[in-house]
Subunit: 349 residues, 2 copies
């Protein structure tokens, strides 16, 4: 075991502060990673605040981790010292159930082990995330980072990236499809980039007229203001796919009206009760609403390789760790374009 | 035009009573049908009561129509005098849009013409349904009835039958699948019969323990009482498909827990706002909820042929037309096993 520096919260009401945590020694299948950058995800805040009622303290958040390999275990095959690597939302799973066998570890029937707030199989207690100097992870859950990308802007791909790439990939969005991305935040801005790179005609759907310019810069062909009933009617029954990234309770009925017959809206943001859905919104046109959760490790690597090929990264604002509490307030106010990334070098100070 | 006897309601609060209506002459593509039996669908009651806010009076309900061909137009190819035929929920559509070209006239982009309460293209005004002596329908919307089936018990197949067959067919339910049918009424009892005939392991899911015996008689392998949390947990994440026939507002979250990863629940009953759905119910396991509406004419004929082959009809109670108001009260109280069918001979009295 080694004792390292980290940043975390002791209770649901406390600010994040400097603390020390333990990491296991590098076992034979493990990769020891010196963390260089870590993205700030809305889930970090939900967990710190215990919004989902399952938080274990102290919480050390962070599951958009970039770093350099410092040491590898004797059986590690795919990584060597000095490699640029990433760790996302999971650090382990049973690797033996039907989901794991289908490369969908996020749906592991035993429960995947979250990068933080998960059950630590090695040291007991719970796992600690990437707001820390170093992490030790089974190589099966370590990703390779394409070397043409700016490493700090890659960090958010490990959660925001795969969360939006996976449904576009799974539902086979293709060239020429009309795709709507609902909500322009950390997830939405990645959804636009991916849908655009896949060759879709991308419509950014938002309540805020002020977001038009930025949406187009990110790759949207058109912006649809969902509060404008007239424009919503013009787009009725015309979308091949909708990616709904709105992170809070909302009314999905107006969006279902936008779908073509037999088409799907996938929810990736709101993990809470929605406004009442009208049965008729689905019945008329045999429409579907589905959910999607991050992606498996294999698909996450495919997403990173896709990003390397298409030169896709996140739009970020780099911060020092000691400004994290202010950053959380800004995330809660949607005041970030589009993702904070912590320069972990700042943890040394 | 001919003036014929019918039964209908003059206002949303009035009882149904004897009245006369006009039918068009038999045009070149038309089939004139002497109605022998007509099923009683919950939609009839909703329309009489103007529950959906779009009723036109007088309402002559009835879209589960069985009868004998009395006359055919000069260009009619598929029917001749004396044939046993059926008419379901539609009597026309544009026949030129993408939905009609895909044999999904129920989703006609111009709007399908309902058998009642639709826009009558021929006589102006609105269409009148099957609670009447006779109907004239374009042959494209007339179905052939297999001659081995009891014609009066076939009537409900034209709506309750196709409404449950279509999603089982479209979502490719097959031998060995574990299928849950939620709700045991007019739709649910047909859902059990079809799922059983398709070779699925059928679980009837109901709030009422008293329905077990009947569910098994109809073809269910097992009955799951949805109020029993322990039993619901045992069946969690185990269903390949769920057919939700509950006709009123309810909480779908407990049912979504029953679905396997990547599986679908299809709503066919509740055309109204549901209780709030939790985003997590979809996100965990990449689950889907969809809607389905009757079926196209081609699929309706396939369903009837499937019924002929597997000897499937509806469980019915035959009534005279002058007891229709009492029958409506009994439908509203779920006091029918499982569908009323009006013997239209009784209209003569």
């Amino acid at each position: 075991m080694s004792t390292i520096k980290a940043y975390g919260a002791d209770t649901k009401d406390s600010d994040l502060k400097s603390m020390t945590i333990e990491r296991r020694e590098t076992k034979k299948n493990d990769v020891k990673i010196k963390i260089t950058y870590c993205g700030v995800c809305h889930s970090d805040i939900h967990t710190v605040q215990n919004d989902w009622g399952n938080s274990k303290y102290p919480v050390v958040p962070g599951h958009e981790i970039i770093g350099r390999v410092e040491e590898v275990g004797s059986d590690v095959k795919n990584f060597k010292e000095g490699d640029l690597v990433g760790v996302g939302c999971m650090v382990d799973s049973c690797q033996d159930c039907s989901a794991c066998n289908d490369d969908l570890e996020q749906f592991c029937e035993e429960g995947m082990v979250g990068t933080y707030n998960g059950k630590d199989k090695h040291l007991g207690g719970h796992t600690y995330g990437g707001y820390s100097e170093m992490i030790v992870v089974d190589e099966k859950f370590v990703l390779s980072i394409p070397d043409n990308l700016d490493e700090k802007a890659v960090a958010p791909l490990l959660c925001a990236g795969i969360t939006t790439y996976s449904p576009l990939n799974h539902w086979k969005v293709k060239k020429g499809d009309k795709v709507g991305v609902i909500g322009l935040g950390g997830l939405g801005h990645m959804g636009i980039k991916f849908a655009h790179a896949l060759g879709a005609k991308v419509v950014m759907i938002t309540t805020s007229p002020g977001k038009e310019k930025d949406a187009k810069r990110l790759g949207a062909d058109e912006v649809l203001i969902s509060k404008n009933d007239e424009d919503m009617k013009k787009h009725a029954n015309s979308f091949d796919f909708l990616l709904n990234t709105v992170p809070v309770k909302h009314d999905i009925n107006p969006y279902l009206q936008l779908l073509k017959r037999d088409s799907t809206m996938v929810m990736v943001g709101a993990i809470e009760p929605l406004e009442p859905m009208h049965g008729g919104s689905l019945v008329m046109g045999r429409k579907r609403v589905a959910g999607s959760l991050i992606g498996g490790i294999k698909e996450t690597q495919e997403m990173l390789d896709f990003c390397g090929k298409h030169n896709i990264t996140s739009d970020i604002e780099v911060i020092d760790i000691d400004t994290i509490n202010t950053a959380y307030d800004r995330v809660k106010n949607s005041d970030v374009k589009y993702r904070f990334v912590i320069d972990m070098e700042s943890l040394k100070n």
